[in-house]
Symmetry: C2
Subunit: 224 residues, 2 copies
């Protein structure tokens, strides 16, 4: 973590950051390991240090909706901890993933010792609201193909790595994941992406996507 700054540490001197980090515990997760389950009492704040987490909600019918991906440097479970409530989502590792966590008592102490942390948490949570509002609006007002395009582009911006043939989304991402993230079905995602492959906008294999023509995809995504 020393290399990449996390929002939680903004405006906190490096030596204090080390102390705060040291107050947490590290956990290593393998691909598809569950960090916490929706419905469990929330007692730990998590910071992703390596890899990423997939946050999803499941309803009684079994439908899975992906709420968010948590990348390196980002926090999760802040909302549940603050509300002193159950986790409203399940967090699953995507690829080998390391997280640092602080239990509630430790966090409370840290917030007392470093009031800036409270502000930083507030900023993190505020950002979530803005993002969710935006996606909520898009879900209501724009059609699936554009939503799929936007989802892929966002993931590309957050996790894309440059390759010779385009920008690779660097973690296992299935058609079903995209569907659950976008609010559609895996069939529609598959059809849509097939069409884009034919246009040369992207290439895709099993759980892998490379965007070969980001510009065209963006034009399509933002077209009114």
């Amino acid at each position: 973590m020393k290399d990449s700054s996390s929002i939680i540490f903004s405006n906190i001197p490096p030596e204090q950051q080390a102390t705060i980090l040291a107050a947490g515990k590290s956990i290593i997760l393998a691909h598809k390991d569950i960090l916490f389950h929706q419905g469990q009492p929330a007692n730990t704040l998590h910071l992703v240090v390596v890899g990423r987490l997939k946050l999803y909600k499941v309803n009684q019918k079994g439908d899975e909706v992906i709420i968010r991906y948590i990348e390196k440097g980002e926090l999760t479970a802040a909302v549940a901890i603050i509300r002193d409530d159950d986790y409203p989502v399940t967090a699953e590792a995507v690829g080998q993933t390391e997280v640092i966590n602080w239990d509630k008592d430790t966090l409370d102490q840290l917030m007392r010792d470093y009031p800036t942390i409270t502000i930083n948490l507030l900023k993190t949570v505020a950002e979530r609201v803005t993002e969710l509002q935006q996606r909520y609006q898009e879900l209501v007002t724009i059609r699936v193909e554009q939503r799929i395009a936007r989802s892929i582009l966002r993931l590309m911006e957050k996790c894309g790595v440059k390759q010779a043939d385009g920008i690779l989304i660097d973690f296992p991402l299935s058609r079903e994941d995209i569907a659950n993230f976008t609010g559609t079905t895996l069939y529609t995602v598959s059809r849509t992406m097939s069409a884009w492959s034919k246009k040369g906008w992207l290439k895709s294999g099993r759980e892998k996507i490379t965007i070969t023509d980001p510009h065209s995809l963006m034009v399509f995504a933002e077209d009114l």
Copy 2:
């Protein structure tokens, strides 16, 4: 406000509450007055004291999505203020409405003087995240009629007043409002509500809804 407690004041002694209130300015709005516009720089935190606000987002096409109603005792613009960003939504008064507001500098000072306020803001914002995640999931996984039912029930719970013939939602609420809140069209809302009228679940006039059989509506709303 002295009679009803607001989250912002939780764990703050009454005499301090008075000081905090006094640091804010009061504004009276008429029905449909705009408190702030989406896109304006956010520089004020608002607390609804009388009446309510409708928060909505508009896209370039002009589609309006209602994000939330802000009731008496609730805050708005916390997210925008904290992020030091533009308002992501427009806030419009529904009926005669009074708000107390604090500008950013005042709020910063208050947060320094009363650290509990920061925690309380965090709780407010955290609650928004949970609510939005829930509605996001519902938008993806459940059908319009159930979504309409749930929206009406939520508004009933927040703003319903008991009448001889049922529970009245006590503010002007059009079919279009419900549609924009639920992610559908006013036509679908109208058709759906007509059907429910025939079943005796509710009665409705122009911008008025009385739920005459909340139980049946709840069973329908929660049916899997």
